[in-house]
């Protein structure tokens, strides 16, 4: 077995972080959590996750801007990012704006676990 795939979740909702972490761990991933935009890029640089799940509504930064920042940082630009949001208008535009921010995929909240796993696997096996 190769070592566990690492996923970094960036979300400001501690309860949700806890349950998603549990779900992802049940699928065999090693999970890291981060709750703010501040220091997020540094976290990504340190952890070097295989994939990032990024909430769009962070307290200090728009998730799309953070996504764009990550994608503009050469060492980590190839890490796939799934953006997630509970905001209605962003769910509708997620395809468009997500693409503009260079996100790889998007998922609305609340999400279906199967759908999330699908998206993760597809991006990791690319």
């Amino acid at each position: 077995m190769d070592e566990k795939r690492k996923i970094l979740i960036i979300d400001d909702e501690p309860d949700l972080l806890k349950v998603i972490k549990n779900r992802l761990e049940s699928w065999g991933f090693e999970v890291f959590c981060w709750a703010t935009g501040a220091g997020a890029v540094k976290q990504v640089l340190e952890i070097r996750p295989h994939l990032i799940i990024l909430d769009i509504m962070l307290p200090d930064i728009n998730g799309y801007d953070l996504c764009y920042k990550i994608k503009k940082t050469p060492e980590i630009s190839s890490i796939p990012v799934i953006v997630a949001t509970a905001k209605q208008e962003w769910q509708e535009d997620m395809g468009d704006i997500g693409r503009f921010a260079k996100a790889d995929d998007c998922i609305p909240k609340p999400f279906e676990p199967d759908v999330l796993l699908d998206k993760i696997n597809r991006l990791l096996n690319k």
Partner: protein, 514 residues
Amino acid sequence: MAQVKINIIIAGAGQKAKALLELLHSHNAIRILGVVDKDSSAIGIKYAQKLGIPTASDYQRFLSQNEVVEIIDLTESKDAREELGRLSNGNTKVIDSRTSIMEILLQELNNKTSELEKIRAELDIQSWGLQKTNEGIRTLYKELEKKNEELSKLDQLKSDFLSTVSHELRTPLATIKETVSQIRDGLLGPTTPRQQEFLTMCLENIERLGRIINNLLDLSKIEAGKTELKRKLTDIMGLVKRTCMTFSSRLSSKGLEIKITFPPEAIEVYLDEDKIIQVLNNLIGNSVKFTKQGFIGISVIDKGDFIECSVSDTGKGIREEDLERLFSKFQQFGQAVDPEEKGTGLGLAISKGIVELHRGKIWAESKLGQGTRFIFTLPKYNSRQVLKERIADSLRAGLRTQELISVLVFELSGFSALQEKLGRQKAGSFLNELARILEEGLSNRERIIVEADAMFSILKETTKAQALSLKDRLLSCGTEFLKKNGLDRETAIAWRVLNFPEDGSTVEQLCADL
């Protein structure tokens, strides 16, 4: 006005005489017979000559036996005075510039002054009125501005509220849903079958709550005029077929049949696929829900300018008095055949909103005990009409809060040829890619909206000149992009720049020659 004519001779032609001539020569109560001075080069003589008034070195030719002549004495020397004294008799008066003529002038002046005063008083009243009106207008303006500000704040608040509510409700819901499903899935330890049954029920209700939130927000957005259609040329029959497919398992498990009636020729309509699917899902879902046996009939009819879609069923029907209320919010009629399929009571209201956004109509016909038929129409707009309408909608929304707006329109000429060359899908994504590139040239807040085979951007607080220079910049980016893709021969980018209020003061005027 003075009626009397006074004949005068001006004696002496110095600086004073000149001034007097200037003052009197056009006065209609005074006739200047002449100017007398020994010095024929005096300044007053020259001036009199210029005015066409006779001049002389003595008085004889100006004096008359029959008429009264007044000699205005402006002479300086003693000799001249003496001479004037000798002239004075019954008809000839010598005055030293203070008597009757001055009276007349004074009288005149008085008249004029009182007239002037009257006029001034009137003007004062008028200007006072104007001032008041001005003040009134200014106050009104201020009030309008305030109201406008309040309205746009309210508008913003409303849409902020919507998105906040959606976010605030969904976030805990996401945690609850994920927690419950993890317990049910056994991630947190084993559960009994009975626990699992209850947890499943719980999840179904979470789903339902999610649906209600979604529907509520959909509807609020439609009502607030915040819903934007993403219209694409779509094969309507294909869309209906695909939607029907998603019902196949539910239909077969209920033993219901589906009957589809399509015209022989394919019909393509500009529509928002997701939204029309939402309408179809709703109508078909309702039919399935309320029908025990029989069939669901779906038809598409080409009516020339528009298409007519209908979904009919052999359910129990709706009472005539309920038909009107059908499309209102939170109206639920009758017991659904399947108790587990609880609706939100918002589906038809949303459907109505969506169809009307497409400028179509929706209604229902029903016979109690025989079934119900829902019909909606969609106009067959061409790409130009779709673009025009979309720009008009965006402008209308913008003009609610802005006083200066420019619209930038880009169009790919020969887009249909491009579609043939690349295929529709690829041509579409090419257009989107072009839009993305153009959007990078805009400031943060502005967006490019792709509609049919064109795209546009609503630029707030932008003058025509600013819009034109922005257009130049974007156009060169776009043209370069076409070249890079080797498509600059097939197609070119055409553009239009419209400005409010420069090019028109209403949305209709602005969009008229698009």
